[in-house]
Amino acid sequence: MRQDLTQTIDRIMSAYPGAGRDALIPILQDTQEDIGYLPREAVVLIGDKLHLPVSKIFGVATFYNQFRFEPKGRFHIQVCRGTACHVKGSLKVLERIKRELGIESGRTTRDGLFSLEIVACIGACALAPVMSINGEVHGRLTTDDVVRLIKDCRKAAETGEAR
C-alpha cells in the first residue's frame, strides 16, 4: 500500500515541476481524483515534497468542501441543495436518500457501495430538484425516482456491471 501510494504521489507531482505552494490545491485535487479521497499518508507525502507542514495542508484541505478524507463509495451520489432545488423540494429528496441508504451526508455506506455528498449547486437549476450519481445528472426528481435509481445501482452492483 505504502509503496503504491508513493508511486501515485510521485506520478501526480511529476506534472508540477518545481511546484510551490500555489500548486497545492491542484495536487490535492489530482490525488483525490486518482485515489477517490485524501488518505492521511498521501497528505504526509505531499507535505514532504512541497516542504509544507502537514497541519497547513490539512488546514487548506478541510477548508474546502471538495476534499474527502474517507473513501468514496462505488456510487457517489451528489445531491444539489441550491435555492432552486430547495424551492422545488430537494430536502424531501435528500431525506429519502438518507433513509434509503442509512447514512448522513459526507459518509459512505458500510458495504462501500454508496457515498453521499451535499453540493451547493450543480448548475442545472432548471431541472430542479437535481442529483448526480457518479457525475451523471438526474433532474426533475421525485422521491420515487430516488428509490428507483438507488435500486438500479444496487442491481448493477449485484450483476457486476459498471455504471
Partner: protein, 667 residues
C-alpha cells in the same frame, strides 16, 4: 484535417500561412482581403466563412443541445438515437453537439437543418421520438407536436418552412435581447472556426493592432459596463487602476466560481461559447498590461472546464495566445485553476488566496487587488458574463452598448430563471426590463394555477421582491432600493406554497456553513441568526419557559443582529449575508409573526409546526402509515380507521408520504 479559417491564403499577394500567421488574418476572414483589392479573393473567403456560418448547408445537419442541463434532461440518449438513425437510413448527415440556448424547460432540444431551408427547432426530443421527427422532416412535413419554430434567414435566400412560426416570436424569446448568449446553442463550442466565422477575435486583433491599453480602458469606461458578478463596479475604472499600478508582472483573473446557488449563466456561456470569454479575458489582459491570466472555475462544472481547456488549446495553437501575439509584442498565457467548493471564493481577495494555495479567506482592503492582488501584484478580476460583453463593446463601440439600458446600468443582463415558473432557463434582457415582463411574459408565469408570491434575486446576498412590486424595472440601483441586489442574476420564483421564513432559514443555513470564520460578526452572527430562525421554524413540543421567551424576542434580535453583521463584516459575503432575512422580514413580517406567536406555518412548509391528522372517512386501515411512522404515534386496528396520537407525533410527515389515498392531512 481541413484547413481552418485562419489558414486561408487567397492568392499569391497574401502571405498568410499556418507557420507564419498574418496579423490581419482574423479581420481578413470577414472583411478581407485587406492588403489588396480583389473581388474573387473576397468571394472565395466569404464562401469559406459561410460553410461555418451554416446559414445554408450542403447536407442535413442535426444539432442537439448537450450542455449540462441538456444532458440532465437526457440529451446524451438523444444524440445516440440520432446517430443510430443516420446509420440506419444511410444518409449523408452530420450531428453537431451545441451548448444551451437557454430554454431549459424544453430540453432535450434538437434542431434540424436541411439544404436550402432554415433551421428548425424541436423540444423534448428523447431517444423515443427522435427518429419519428427526423423521418417526418426528411419527408418534407414538419411535425407540429414538438415544434418550437424556425430560425430566420438573415440573407433571405432560404425558403422558409410554410406555416412554421419564427423562433423569435416564441414567447420565451420574443422579449429577449441576446448579446452575451448570441452564439449559445447555435454554434459548435468546440470549433474555433465557427466562432471566427461569427466575427470572433476581430475585436481582440483590433485592440492589439490599433489601440493602446489606455484607449481600451477609456472605451470600457465610456460604455458604462458594470461588473455582472455582484457588486456592479464599473469595469473600465477597475482596469484603469490596474493599468496605472506600475509592476513588471500583473494578473488578469476570470471569476468563474459561480457559487451562487440558483445561477448558471456563467456555466452556460462557457459551455456554449467558450471563445467569447477567452477573447474577453485576452482584451482585458491587454488593457491592464497582464501577461498571465487565470480562469478560476468551479470543479462542479466538469463540462465547462473541458470546453475551456479545448478552447484555450485551440487559441494557443493558432497564435491567439502565447508570446508576441500577432507581432504586437503582447504576451498572454491562460491557466485554469479549479475551485474546490467554497462559496466565499467568489469574493475576489479570497479567490486570490485560493489560487495561491491557501485557505480561501478574504483579505482586508485596502490595498485593493488592482494595486496589490495575486502574489502581491496588481490584478484585475472580472466575472464571466462581464468578460463575455467585452468583445462586442470593442467591436461595435461604447455608444452601441450604452444605447440600451437605464441611466446607471447599460447593456443587457442574463438572468437564470428557476423555481416555480413555467419557462425555466436563461433569459437575457435589456437592463430596465420589468420583473413582470421577465417572470410573467418570458417566464410564462407560475405553473399549476398557483399564485405568485415573491422572487428571490441575487442568491444568498440578495433579497426578495414581493408580488406588489412586480412592475419594478430591474437595474443595479432599483434593486438596492428594495433591499435586494443584482448579484449574479439568479431569479428564483416562489409561489404561495413556499414559506418565506423557511427560505430565509435556508439561506442562513447556507451562509453560516460557508462563512470562512475569519471575522467574528459573520462567523458568530450568522450562526446566531440561524439559531433564532431554527427556533421559529421548528416546533419544540417540550419547550421550556425561557426558550419561548427567546422565540418571542427573536424577530427583534434578528433585525438588530442583521444590521450589525452588515456594518461590521470584513468582506462582501458577511456584509450581504443578512439580506435574505432582512428583506423577508420587510415584506413578509406577517409570516414571521404567524410562526412566532401562533406557531403556524401559513404555507405548510415548516413540517414540525404542522399538526397531522387522519381523515376517518377516507382511511381504509391499510396500515402503511403505521409502518412508516418512526415514533409509533399511529394507532389503529387493521382495516379500521387509524388515529395519530399528537403527544407522540414528531411531525416528520412520513405518514402523509406513505398514505396511498391521501387520508392524512396537515394543519
Amino acid at each position: 484535417m481541413m484547413p481552418g479559417l485562419m489558414d486561408i491564403k487567397c492568392c499569391d499577394k497574401c502571405w498568410n500561412s499556418s507557420s507564419k500567421v498574418c496579423p490581419e488574418s482574423v479581420e481578413c476572414i470577414k472583411e478581407g482581403p485587406l492588403c489588396h483589392e480583389d473581388k474573387d479573393c473576397g468571394n472565395a473567403r466569404l464562401s469559406r466563412v459561410n460553410e461555418f456560418l451554416r446559414e445554408d448547408v450542403a447536407a442535413p445537419v442535426i444539432f442537439v443541445g448537450t450542455g449540462t442541463c441538456g444532458i440532465g434532461a437526457g440529451a446524451g440518449k438523444t444524440v445516440q438515437a440520432v446517430k443510430a438513425w443516420i446509420a440506419e437510413k444511410k444518409i449523408n448527415a452530420s450531428v453537431v453537439e451545441v451548448g444551451c440556448v437557454g430554454a431549459c424547460f424544453l430540453e432535450p432540444l434538437m434542431d434540424v437543418q436541411l439544404p436550402g431551408r432554415p433551421r428548425l427547432s424541436f423540444s423534448e426530443v428523447t431517444e423515443k421520438n427522435a427518429a419519428e421527427i427526423l423521418d417526418s422532416v426528411m419527408a418534407g412535413t414538419v411535425p407540429a407536436g414538438n415544434l418550437i419554430g424556425q430560425y430566420d434567414s438573415p440573407s433571405g435566400k432560404l425558403q422558409p418552412w410554410p406555416g412554421v412560426a419564427p423562433i423569435s416570436s416564441h414567447p420565451f424569446f420574443a422579449k429577449q435581447t441576446r448579446w452575451v448568449l448570441r452564439n449559445c446553442g447555435l454554434i459548435d463550442p468546440t470549433s474555433l472556426d465557427e466562432y471566427l466565422a461569427h466575427g470572433g477575435y476581430r475585436a481582440y486583433t483590433k485592440v492589439l493592432r490599433s489601440m493602446t491599453p489606455a484607449e481600451v480602458c477609456d472605451q470600457m469606461e465610456k460604455s458604462g459596463l458594470r461588473g455582472r458578478g455582484g457588486g456592479g463596479f464599473p469595469t473600465g475604472r477597475k482596469w484603469k487602476v490596474a493599468l496605472n499600478s506600475p509592476s513588471e508582472q500583473k494578473y488578469m483573473i476570470c471569476n468563474a466560481d459561480e457559487g451562487d446557488p440558483g445561477a448558471f449563466m456563467d456555466r452556460a456561456v462557457i459551455e456554449g461559447d467558450p471563445h467569447r470569454v477567452i477573447e474577453g479575458i485576452a482584451i482585458a489582459a491587454y488593457a491592464i498590461g497582464a501577461s498571465q491570466a487565470y480562469f478560476y472555475i468551479r470543479a462542479e462544472y466538469p463540462l465547462a472546464i473541458q470546453r475551456l481547456r479545448t478552447a484555450i488549446a485551440q487559441a494557443r495553437e493558432r497564435g491567439l495566445l502565447g508570446r508576441n501575439i500577432f507581432d504586437s509584442g503582447a504576451d498572454l498565457d491562460i491557466k485554469i485553476k479549479m475551485g474546490a467548493g467554497a462559496f466565499v471564493c467568489g469574493e475576489e481577495t479570497a479567490l486570490m488566496n485560493s489560487i495561491e494555495g491557501r485557505r480561501g479567506m478574504p483579505r482586508p482592503r485596502p490595498p485593493y487587488p488592482a494595486v496589490s492582488g495575486l502574489f502581491g501584484k496588481p490584478s484585475a478580476i472580472n466575472n464571466v458574463e462581464t468578460l463575455a460583453n467585452v468583445p462586442d463593446i470593442i467591436w461595435n463601440g461604447a455608444d452601441w452598448f450604452s444605447s440600451i439600458g437605464t441611466e446607471g446600468s447599460k447593456g443587457t443582463k442574463v438572468f437564470a430563471l428557476s423555481g416555480k415558473v413555467s419557462h425555466t432557463g436563461l433569459v437575457e434582457v435589456a437592463m430596465g426590463t420589468s420583473l413582470q415582463d421577465i417572470i410573467m411574459e418570458i417566464g410564462g408565469g407560475v405553473p399549476d394555477g398557483k399564485a405568485f408570491k415573491a422572487v428571490q434575486i441575487g442568491g444568498p446576498s440578495g433579497g426578495c421582491i414581493p408580488s406588489q412590486h412586480l412592475d419594478l424595472e430591474i437595474d443595479y440601483e432599483s434593486l438596492k432600493k428594495f433591499g435586494a441586489m443584482m448579484g449574479s442574476g439568479g431569479l428564483v420564483v416562489m409561489d404561495e406554497a413556499n414559506c418565506m421564513v423557511d427560505v430565509a432559514r435556508f439561506f442562513m443555513d447556507f451562509i453560516q456553513r460557508e462563512s470562512c470564520g475569519k471575522c467574528i460578526p459573520c462567523r458568530e452572527g450568522t450562526r446566531r441568526m440561524l439559531e433564532i430562525l431554527d427556533a421559529i421554524t421548528t416546533g419544540r413540543r417540550d419547550e421550556k419557559g425561557h426558550q419561548s421567551l427567546e422565540r418571542f424576542k427573536g424577530v427583534i434580535n434578528l433585525e438588530q443582529l442583521g444590521t450589525v453583521i452588515k456594518k461590521t463584516s470584513l468582506c462582501g459575503l458577511g456584509q450581504t449575508a443578512p439580506n435574505p432575512v432582512l428583506s423577508t422580514l420587510r415584506w413578509f413580517r406577517d409570516e414571521y409573526e404567524a410562526h412566532v406567536y401562533e406557531r403556524k406555518c401559513p404555507a405548510k412548509q415548516c413540517k414540525s409546526l404542522l399538526a397531522f391528522s387522519i381523515d376517518h372517512e377516507k382511511c381504509v386501515g391499510c396500515g402503511l402509515c403505521t409502518k412508516a411512522c418512526p415514533s409509533d404515534a399511529i394507532l389503529g386496528a387493521k382495516k379500521s380507521p387509524h388515529h395519530i396520537v399528537p403527544e407522540r407525533c414528531i411531525g416528520c410527515g412520513s405518514c402523509m408520504e406513505a398514505c396511498p389515498i391521501g387520508a392524512v392531512s396537515a394543519e
